[in-house]
Structure formats: structure tokens, C-alpha cells
Amino acid sequence: MAPAAPRSGDAIFASVERVNAELFTLTYGAIVRQLLTDLEEVEEVNKQLDQMGYNIGIRLIDEFLAKSNVSRCVDFKETAEVIAKVGFKMFLGVTASVTNWDADGTCCSIVLEDNPLVDFVELPDTCQGLYYCNILSGVIRGALEMVSMKTEVTWIRDVLRGDDAYELQVKLLKQVPEEYPYKDDE
């Protein structure tokens, strides 16, 4: 039997390299600020953040699999648990919880109580439509796509918009079967 996947990322979090939290927060803030100046439209900024997250995600998944020693997940439920408990802990230092499963187990919510990206941030009236942490949804989407799961990630709740927590809805669109670049008989 394969070793059970780690149920929490504490051990890995203790061993990975870390940066100062404020430096991290302010750097991300500077990126969003610059995007707002360059693109002008809030909608465009959301799109760009998502794209940046996607590009991070498709690379990050490799580091995650190399360092975390998680084994293959049997179903999407386990995948979501691993993202929330191990993935978030490893890269952001916080843990999330997974709730709101739908009946056929393809759609769930990842709820973040604490989010290091948004320290100090308050949305001014001019940026009301902004999903400040949209990069996170892109990261999850990108990472899952690399392990052959097409997903759609959307924000349901956002503290910056007056809600009480951060909630990301992850919806499994389809599992792409792995394709071999060659045929058996060749």
C-alpha cells in the first residue's frame, strides 16, 4: 500500500524557504497597483491576474509534487483536501478548509479564514469590481490543469468586499485522460 498522503503541510512548511510576510504582501500590492495603472480597466486587471496565476500554477505544481511527497489522489475530493491542507500551507503559510460539496463531488468551496495577500488592503470606490486575490484562482486552475484536470475557479466571498471569509469555488469541468505521445505498436 502506498504511504498515506500527508494530511497537513506543517512539516513541509517548516522546511521550505520563506520570505518576510510584509515584503511579500507589499510586493503583490505593487504588482496589482501597477496593473491598475497600466490596464486602467478593473476587468482587464482581473483577467491579467488570473493569467499570471495560471502561469505560476503550471510551474508551481512541479515544485509542489517534488517537495510534498503526496501520492496520487484517488478522486477530486482528495485533490481538494490536499490543495487546502498541504498546498496552501506550503506556499502561503495558511490552511484552508473545504466545504460545500455538491452531490456528484465535482464542485466544492475552499474557504480561507486568513489571507496574507490582503494585509493593509482596503478597496477604494474606484476599484469595486476588483478581485484583489485573483492570482490565487489562476494558480489553482493552472496547477490542476497540469495534472489533467480542467477546472473553473471563481470567487464566491471576499473579505475586501465586505464578506466574512475568502471563498473560492473550484469546479471540475472534466478529467483529461493522459495521452501518450506514441502508440503501443510503434
Partner: protein
């Protein structure tokens, strides 16, 4: 609580970025303009004084009848100006220090442009609460 008090934050470019009437006295139509006028006149004195001392808190630098102007100059040369009629120096000093902390938090917000108007309602509520507590 002081009967009359007016609090203004002036940016380093001499633009007012936050204003609040925090006194308990009944609002008078012309009071706001008068207070602005007195504080504006005091800016020149602040400019002279700020470079002669290393202290941030400049106590009672100007007066107009029974109203006194106290100023707190931050390292970035943003000026917190308070027009007051109370003589509670310790309270005023604490008020400035706590507002300074709030102001630093505002500055750390990546979506706030330094030198622009402070529109945050959270900041406004906190400042008014501090005024009730200390002045």
C-alpha cells in the same frame, strides 16, 4: 471631550487630504471655514518650526482667541493639524500618535496613492473614536 476641535491632515505638497470636525459643540455654518482659515495660517509657522526641532509633536504653535493649534509632523512631512480649545496636552499627544499609526496603515495600502485624499470610512470612524477618547 473638547467643545470645539477640528482635525486636518495636510500632505507634504500642502494639500489637505483629510478633514474632520470632531468637537461636541453644535455645528455652526461659518465655523468650518473659520477653522480652515486658522489652520491654513498656521502652516507657515509649522514650516519654520519643523526644521528647528527633532520632535514630531509641536505643541500650541498658534492661537486665535481661545482656540489653539497643535501639530504633529511625520517623517514624510505630512502634517496632522488639530485646532482645539482644551488644555489636555497628554491626550492630544496620544491622539496624534494613534492617528499616526492609522495613517501608516493607510499608506501601506497598495491601492492608496500617497498624497491623495483619504476616503476610507474605516479611517474616519477610527479617528472620530480616538477624538472622543482623548480630546
Amino acid at each position: 471631550m473638547a467643545t470645539t476641535a477640528c482635525f486636518i491632515i495636510v500632505s507634504r505638497n500642502d494639500i489637505p487630504i483629510y478633514e474632520a470636525e470632531v468637537g461636541s459643540a453644535a455645528k455652526r455654518e461659518d465655523a468650518a471655514q473659520l477653522h480652515q482659515f486658522i489652520l491654513h495660517a498656521a502652516l507657515d509657522i509649522v514650516q519654520d518650526l519643523a526644521w528647528t526641532t527633532s520632535a514630531m509633536f509641536l505643541k500650541a504653535i498658534d492661537r486665535f482667541n481661545d482656540l489653539v493649534v497643535s501639530v504633529y509632523v511625520t517623517a514624510g512631512h505630512t502634517r496632522f493639524m488639530l485646532l482645539h480649545d482644551s488644555r489636555n496636552d497628554d491626550g492630544i499627544k496620544s491622539f496624534f500618535q494613534e492617528v499616526h499609526e492609522l495613517y501608516v496603515k493607510i499608506l501601506l495600502n497598495p491601492l492608496y496613492l500617497p498624497g491623495s485624499r483619504i476616503t476610507s470610512s474605516h479611517f474616519d470612524t477610527k479617528v472620530r473614536a480616538l477624538a472622543r477618547k482623548y480630546l
